[in-house]
Symmetry: C2
Subunit: 180 residues, 2 copies
Amino acid sequence: MTDPTTLEFAILGLLSLAPSTGYDLMHIFETTAIGNYSSSPGAIYPALGRLEKRGLIEGVVDDSQALRPKKVFRPTADGAKTLRRWLRSGITKNDVQRRLDELLLKFAFHSLLDAEATRDFLSGLAKATDEYLADLRVQRKIFSDDEPPHGRMAFEFGIDRYRACARWARRTLRHFEESS
Amino acid sequence: MTDPTTLEFAILGLLSLAPSTGYDLMHIFETTAIGNYSSSPGAIYPALGRLEKRGLIEGVVDDSQALRPKKVFRPTADGAKTLRRWLRSGITKNDVQRRLDELLLKFAFHSLLDAEATRDFLSGLAKATDEYLADLRVQRKIFSDDEPPHGRMAFEFGIDRYRACARWARRTLRHFEESS
DNA sequence: TCGCACATGTAACGTGTTACATGATTCA
DNA sequence: TGAATCATGTAACACGTTACATGTGCGA
C-alpha cells in the first residue's frame, strides 16, 4: 500500500481531533487556514470513501435529528496508527524542498503526540532546512552579473523563505524546551 | 480558451529566453531551481504538444548533426503575446495565498519586460501580500490559549512566510528604483 | 561490449477542479 | 414563496507521476 495523500492525512488528522461528517470537514477547509489543502465535495467525499475502504476510518450513520441522515467518521485503530507513523516520520531535504506545506500540516497535528516527538520534529526540520539552504547557497553562485538580475532575485526569495523556516523551527523548538 | 497551466507558462518563458528541445527543457528542470515546477518527459512532451496545438509555440525539426532528429521549439508571436499578458496581469490576494510559487516564476521572466513592468509587479505583490497578512492577523485571534499551541504555531509560520515575502518585494523594488 | 549522453515519446493510474444533482427544514 | 443551511454525492475533464519503450553514437 502506498501512503495516503496529503489531503487524506489532513482529513485523518481532523477526524482524530474530532469525529466529523463530510460536511463538517468541508466547512473547516473553507473557513480555516487548513483550507490551503483545498477543498470541495468533489475531493473530500471521494477521499473519505478511499480512507474507509482502506480501513483507516469508519463512518456511522446518524439518522436521529438531522435534516438529512449524516455519516459521522472517526479514525480506526489502524488509521490512528497510520497517522502517528506519518507524524513521526523523518524529515528529508527533499521534503523541505518540495513539501514544506505538508510538513506544516504535520506539525499542526503534533498535538496528538507527546512533547518529545514535537521536539524531534522541529530539530529534524531545522537540520533538513539547513542542508537544503547549503545546497541553495552553492547554486546561487551560478548566476553571473551580466545577466538580467531577475532570476537571481527570485532565487534569493527562495533562500529568504527557507531561512525564515529554519528560524521558525528553532524559535518554536526553544518554546517547547522551555515549557517542559 | 483557458489560460495555460503553470508548467506551460514556465516552458513558454524558457523558450522565450532561448529556443530549446524537450530534452533541453528536461535538463533545465532537473538541474536548476525552476525544477520545482517539476518535471519529467511525461509532463514536458505533452505540454509542448498542447502549446504547439494552440499555436503558442512552433517546432522545427533539426536533422542535421544530431544523433537522433530533434525538434527545436520557440514561441510564436501569439505565444509571446500570451506570455507578456500573463507577466503583466494583476496580482490578487488570492494569488498570494495559493500561487506564490507561480508569482515568483512570473517575476523570474520579467527580464523579458521593461523596468516599469517589474516595478508594477513588485509594488502589486507587496500590496496584495499586505492585504493577505491583514486577513491572517485577524484569523490569528481565533486561537485560544487553552488549546494545544501547535495549530497557532503552524499558523505563525504562515505569517512569517508572507512577511518575508512582503519584505523581499519592497527590498527588490528599491533595487529597481535605484538602478533606474 | 557495456553503459552513458543524447533525444522523443506513450500508457496506466490516481487525483483534484468544476459543475451539477438531490432533498429536507427553517426563516424572512 | 424563495433563499439559506444542512447534507451527500456524481460526472467530465485535465493534469502530473511513474514507468516503460525506443534508438544512435561515443568512449572505457
